[in-house]
């Protein structure tokens, strides 16, 4: 099975103190460290498990600047066979729709049976997967937390729905799936693995290679513009439960019951 996984380089929320910059147009990026968007790791892991089971190959793509190369290489160290960086000056300021159309152009150049994206990105809106499927006119399932290949025509996917319930679908290939965390346990990528792929070939495709008109993407093509960033005001203070551990537990259970948290 030929699998394409879309990944994104994002500021690592667990390893940064995120602050909004003074003019409210972006977050402070000076001290940030970046990593692969967490959901994308699960998507790549799932692709690796499918490939190792039934064969095929995995291509990882990312739309971003030169720095995005780092996250593609990390996913190659994890086990992806190929990486392609979709990068061009004219892509700057692209909104979700533009990113989906850039990826679509790359998909059209190849022959893929399955496209996986993370369910969302730490700094995104969770829209690229769905838009990409629509542009390709392929079937789409979001928030997938279970995946089973039936044959080369069909796969079975599970989605987590309201209340922790699970629904199972059969879906025809080729298709696009957005992958939820928890579908698997992504493998660790060590420094040694990253160094091993440090000099592996990594083509960069720009607007020209992809045959995209510069006006359709980037700032000019964006239909959504960022207007403001702000930190919400602090709300009312939290309630601190007091007493012995047993008493606290009892109070907590009562509270959860009364507010409908548990039945």
């Amino acid at each position: 099975m030929e699998i394409l996984v879309c990944v994104k380089r994002v500021p690592d929320t667990s390893e940064n103190e995120i602050e909004v910059n003074s003019d409210g147009t972006d977050i402070e990026r000076g001290d940030l460290v970046y990593s692969v968007n967490e959901w994308d790791n699960y998507a790549v892991e799932e692709a690796i498990q499918i490939r190792d089971k039934i064969g095929g190959s995995i291509t990882v793509v990312s739309v971003g600047d030169d720095d995005a190369e780092e996250v593609i290489r990390r996913e190659m160290a994890m086990g992806a066979d190929r990486g392609i960086l979709l990068s061009d000056k004219v892509f700057e300021g692209a909104d979700g729709r533009a990113i989906a159309s850039i990826i679509k152009a790359e998909v059209d150049k190849g022959k893929y049976d399955l496209i996986l994206t993370g369910a969302q990105a730490d700094d995104g809106a969770g829209q690229v997967g769905g838009m990409l499927a629509a542009m390709l006119d392929w079937p789409y399932a979001s928030l997938v937390n279970y995946l089973e290949v039936i044959d080369n025509q069909k796969i079975k996917v599970g989605r987590e729905i309201e209340g922790g319930n699970q629904e199972i679908h059969e879906i025809n290939l080729p298709c696009v799936l957005s992958i939820q965390t928890g579908i698997n346990e992504p493998r660790y990528v060590g420094i040694r693995g990253i160094r091993k792929v440090a000099s592996a070939e990594l083509p960069i495709h720009g607007a020209k290679e992809l045959g995209i008109s510069p006006e359709a993407v980037g700032h000019t093509g964006a239909k959504v513009q960022k207007v403001d960033y702000f930190v919400p005001d602090l709300g009312e203070g939290a309630e601190i439960l007091e007493g012995s551990t047993d008493e606290i537990v009892e109070q907590l259970v009562e509270l959860l019951k009364s507010k409908g948290g548990i039945k």
Partner: protein
């Protein structure tokens, strides 16, 4: 001496000269034994290199101390005494057994020097030895078969087979050897007595003496049969036992001397990824760590062969005590059994399977805190930490790292600390240390005499920052010119290395080494035993390192630090030995002396202290790991302190502080038990002029 019975060398058995058997049995026995040993050597030959031939004098001395001197045996009194007696008996009786084997071929044979009066003295000695060995075997059989000490049990998850039968079978073999000789000699003496001839001297109460008395009235023809039967019983058991040794836990009879000779001499260190491969070439290695049996070093396979199944390692192992799926004893036994299976005595060698998943489990290998209790206890000096680290290196290379550890590892890679905190905030703790002069940050051209290497937890953890501040105040009180690396300091990487991420460790080490050298300090001090061990044993080419307790002790002795009487006269203090200060670096007395320097302080010892100290739960990355366990190590430790009558636990390690403080809360002992770091205790009692 005239004989009344025909000796084995001259006798006939069913018409065949018995000497034929006397020759055949040793030949067949030795041939089979050689064949088995050759088979057993196969995995050792295929294993990875491990240079262990240096420091020969020290190694020979160790061999005398631990192997021949049985130095660690009495740590378990009953079993230890039994073992020493049987071992001593074996040494004495080895000459007799060799003599007996040859006597079957050459009548009246005596080893050189054992002919005359020396032989007579030896004869008395060996009679005594055989008697106490037999007695000890009976005691041991009763102990193993009836009382069944708990540590020999085989929990279901480690195997179905109970090991009692093997132990008892071997004890029966040994008893058989003793009884065989007693009857061989006793039957002859009985016959001689009946004929009114002179006999050997027998000490009343020895086994042979009893046999002589029992057989006194037995007709000579029957005595002849007994004489020959006893001889061949001894001969057959002797060679059967020899060939049985390499099939199980009694392999240690053969392997323990070399195993102790080749023991690890550098405590606290971790073996390199591959011996003989330079650090800069490690990256290019095709295979990393241990994935298959042959990836172990030859010494580690010898360790597996040498395990005597005594269960002491697991009895001391804190992970085993709290119900984690780890028992060091079964690391050895499972790998030994697998080695026997993959390299069978007959048939083709099997293609080695990955160890993880087939022989060992992931959780088993991640459960170890590398506290070293097992290694401190093993009478045969078997190593575990290096094997665990090598297995983890293999898992890291395969990507099978628990999710709970992946996040801190990534943060260490990106930020140089496992919490993912900003590098530029690394020195923030020092700002509010209530010091006369602010702590120097050794960057750019700034230098100092002493570097205080704080490490990650002291730099970033709210509670542990107090240890950093107390340390800074002590250093200032002792008028030491010191500084910290601040943003230029990265995690020491102590646990990164011990969790198998060698390449990341090397990055951290190289970065720190460069920063330390640039700071031009003359000495390094740290309040974190993990950092202490890393800088002392893992780093090379940096200034000498000491733990803060050493510096405090020196300054107390020099009168530079003066202490007032204990604040709380009601409190009973106990000292908890951090693994990486005590067991890994032999610093036991210094912290105790420092505590005792506080006038009127009351201090008690916990039952498990010094090299038997019980790990608090582990440091560094272990704080992030979510083990499968029934209770917490820290809780068990707090219970031990309570049992000792203590109200304050003094420790000298930030991770012990975290674990024990948590344990006091979760055990509901708040207000009844306290924990304090040694530097905090001294800081509180320091007379500041």
């Amino acid at each position: 001496m005239e004989t009344v019975l025909i000796s084995p060398a001259k006798a006939f058995v069913i018409g065949i000269p018995a000497v034929i058997f006397s020759i055949l049995i040793p030949i067949v026995g030795t041939a089979v034994f050689t064949y088995i040993i050759a088979k057993r050597l196969a995995p050792i030959v295929k294993a990875k290199p491990d240079p262990r031939c240096d420091r020969v004098k020290e190694r020979v001395a160790n061999m005398f101390k631990y192997a021949i001197g049985q130095y660690r045996q009495p740590r378990y009194q009953m079993a230890g005494v039994i073992h020493i007696l049987i071992f001593a008996g074996f040494l004495i009786l080895s000459f007799r057994s060799i003599t007996l084997v040859i006597m079957g071929i050459a009548d009246g044979f005596a080893l050189p020097g054992f002919g005359g009066s020396m032989g007579k003295v030896y004869n008395l000695l060996k009679d005594c030895a055989a008697t106490f060995v037999l007695g000890t075997c009976i005691v041991a059989m009763v102990r193993r078969g009836i009382f069944k000490p708990e540590r020999y049990a085989v929990p279901p998850r480690y195997g179905k087979k109970d090991h009692t039968w093997e132990a008892i079978f071997v004890l029966l073999l040994i008893s058989g050897l003793m009884i065989g000789d007693m009857f061989f000699e006793g039957s002859l003496a009985a016959a001689q007595l009946q004929e009114g001839m002179e006999t050997e001297i027998f000490i009343p109460g020895t086994g042979t003496w009893f046999v002589v008395n029992i057989l006194r009235a037995v007709p000579v023809e029957q005595l002849q049969t007994i004489h020959l039967s006893a001889y061949f019983t001894h001969d057959i058991i002797f060679f059967f036992f020899l060939c049985f040794l390499p099939l199980g836990k009694h392999f240690h009879v053969i392997t323990s001397l070399p195993n102790v000779f080749f023991m690890k001499l550098n405590k606290g260190m971790v073996k390199p990824v591959r011996w003989g491969v330079e650090e800069e070439d490690v990256e290019a290695l095709e295979n990393f760590g241990v994935k298959k049996l042959e990836d172990f070093t030859w010494k580690h396979i010898l360790d597996f062969y040498t395990c005597a199944d005594c269960g002491r390692c697991s009895d001391q192992c804190p992970a085993n005590a709290v119900g984690r799926p780890l028992s060091p004893r079964f690391i050895s036994l499972k790998c030994r059994d697998y080695s026997f299976e993959a390299y069978p005595l007959r048939g083709e060698m099997a293609v080695s399977q990955p160890l993880i998943g087939n022989v060992l489990s992931e959780d088993e290998i991640w459960s170890c805190t590398t506290c070293g209790a097992c290694e401190a206890e093993c009478p045969l000096l078997i190593e575990y930490i290096d094997k665990i680290v090598d297995l983890r290196r293999g898992m890291v290379d395969e990507g099978t790292v628990p999710q709970s550890l992946q996040k801190p590892l990534r943060a260490l890679e990106k930020r140089g600390n496992p919490y993912g905190k900003m590098e530029r905030k690394r020195a923030d703790w020092a700002k509010d240390a209530e010091l006369k002069t602010p702590v120097k940050i050794l960057k750019n051209k700034e230098t100092a005499d002493v570097l205080y290497f704080a490490d990650s937890i002291t730099s970033y953890d709210d509670r542990i920052q107090e240890i950093g501040k107390a340390t800074a105040r002590i250093l200032q009180a002792a008028e030491i010119d010191f500084g910290i690396l601040g943003p230029n300091e990265k995690d020491s990487g102590h646990e990164v290395r011990r969790f198998g991420e060698e390449m990341l460790f090397m990055e951290l080490k190289n970065s720190n080494t460069e920063a330390i050298i640039k700071s031009r300090v003359k000495r390094i001090v740290t309040s974190d035993p993990h950092a202490f061990n890393a800088l002392k044993n893992d780093y090379i080419g940096i200034a000498p390192v000491e733990h803060i307790s050493q510096l405090i002790a020196r300054n107390i002795n020099a009168g530079k630090i003066q202490l007032k009487g204990v604040e709380d006269t009601e409190a009973v203090y106990t000292y908890h030995d951090p693994c990486y200060l005590g067991r890994h670096n032999d610093i036991y007395d210094i912290p105790r002396n420092v505590i005792d320097a506080i006038p009127d302080i009351k201090r008690v010892e916990m039952l498990k202290c010094r090299d038997r100290s019980f790990c608090c739960g582990g440091g560094g990355l272990m704080l992030f790991y979510e083990p499968i366990e029934e209770k917490r190590m820290g809780q068990m430790r707090v219970e031990m302190a309570k049992k000792a009558g203590a109200t304050v636990i003094v420790t000298a390690c930030p991770f012990c502080m975290v674990n024990i403080e948590d344990a006091i809360k979760t055990s509901g002992l708040e207000g009844k038990m306290e924990v304090i770091d040694l530097v905090e205790l001294i800081d509180r009692h320091m007379i500041v002029g």
